[in-house]
Amino acid sequence: MAIQIYGIPLSVAVRRALVVFKELEVPYDLVTVDIIKGEQKSDKALKNQPFGKIPYLHDSDNDLTLFESRAIARYIVGKYDKSGKSGLLPTDEVDAARFEQAVSIEVTAFNPPANGVANELVFKPVLYKKETDQAKLVEALASLNDTLNVYETILSKQKYLAGEYLTLADLFHLPLGTVLTDMAKLNVLTTDKRPSVQRWWKDISSRPSWLVVKADTTPLVFTTE
């Protein structure tokens, strides 16, 4: 295949990129990076991703190496949906501005508190065997609820975050949102108290592309060879 994605199936950031491949039915090879052994910090990996993170991509069609899941997502849409038929990455001046606004909100208002909550409730206990910091959890949850209350206002007036059509801005929420809902068992995205958020989350989280990505739960255990 032309495109190789370096990462692991369970990684939030890897999944953020993979869902877009699935939306556009673009094939890829997922090349395992042994993060338990710290392979992402090896000299070889750092040449491709100088911050030592996953995912990163290599496209043999043009020898392009790329990191940052949202950049990878945009690249795939730009390369494989030139006609813009998917609507995932608007190019019209006004639609694009509203899209960039929505993407920016995901980055600055959703991701930090969602990650804070996921870290305290899931990543620390499950991956790092560390205790939850209750004070940090409370703060992150409050901030997340503040954000989602604003989402409720926005989504009560339009179907998706950038307007009436689904875009990457909505899809970018899926991996962390699923950790919160499925693993931390929180109802922040599903509560009846925010019916528009509930409607939106149900819509995006039941997309076939996401269900396929979510189903790959190949665990973080590697055999050494």
């Binding site: 100088p50 945009r74 001046e93 606004q101 600055t108 208002a109």
Partner: protein, 216 residues
């Protein structure tokens, strides 16, 4: 109708947008939002910017918030106003990919730590949590070490052309560097120093860095 920029003279994110408006020669009117009176949390303000933050623009009826979204909109709409665009053409897929990589790098490897540290050190009611601020600055410095590697191979964060990805750093980089919480001129990172020297002396930044105002 002249573009209206709703923000504040000394707001970091207002300055980010003002630098881009200045570079792209777009006339604008700065409408001061009275932060001290809590105007940004008033129902009238929230109707336009539902997160209660600064800035937003009103461009002939089009309301856009989030400084980086506004910046991209300006750079796309007024592309023909400048000879060296700060935004690659979408048709150039490889350049655009590297640009998006750089913009995301600024968001997650710089701003995530820098803006949080700035809040902690300058504006948090009750004063900073010293341990937390220290950790944030350590993370920021680790990112700058990676920047050193990147900038040793190319002139700017997205490649060999200056883009919005570099510009986006300015407000918080300036704030933290001037207050000596980070050292962007550290000789141990000569490429970061070279990059910062050029960035921090750009005319469009110099025009806004000490306070945003409506251009004459």
């Amino acid at each position: 109708m002249v573009l209206k920029l709703y923000g504040h003279t000394h707001s970091t994110c207002t300055a980010r947008v003002a630098a881009v408006l200045t570079e792209y020669k777009v006339p604008f009117e700065l409408v001061i939002v009275d932060l001290f009176k809590g105007e940004h949390k008033s129902p009238e303000y929230l109707a336009f910017q539902p997160f209660g933050q600064l800035p937003y623009i009103n461009d002939d009826g089009l309301i856009i918030y989030e400084s980086r979204a506004i910046s991209r909109y300006i750079a796309a709409k007024y592309r023909s106003n400048v000879s060296s665009a700060w935004l690659p053409l979408p048709e150039d897929i490889a350049k655009t990919a590297k640009f998006e990589q750089a913009v995301n790098t600024e968001a997650f490897k710089f701003d995530a730590f820098a803006s949080t540290a700035a809040f902690e050190l300058f504006w948090k009611p009750g004063g900073p949590d010293a341990e937390y601020a220290k950790k944030l600055l350590e993370n920021l410095n680790a990112s700058l070490d990676a920047y050193e590697v990147i900038l040793s191979k190319q002139k700017y964060l997205a490649g060999d052309e200056l883009t919005l990805a570099d510009i986006f750093h300015l407000p918080y980089a300036n704030l933290l560097h001037n207050a000596k919480h980070i050292n962007l001129e550290d000789e141990k990172r000569p490429n970061v120093a070279r990059w910062w020297k050029e960035l921090s002396t750009l005319p469009s930044w110099l025009a806004v860095k000490d306070g945003v105002k409506s251009p004459a």
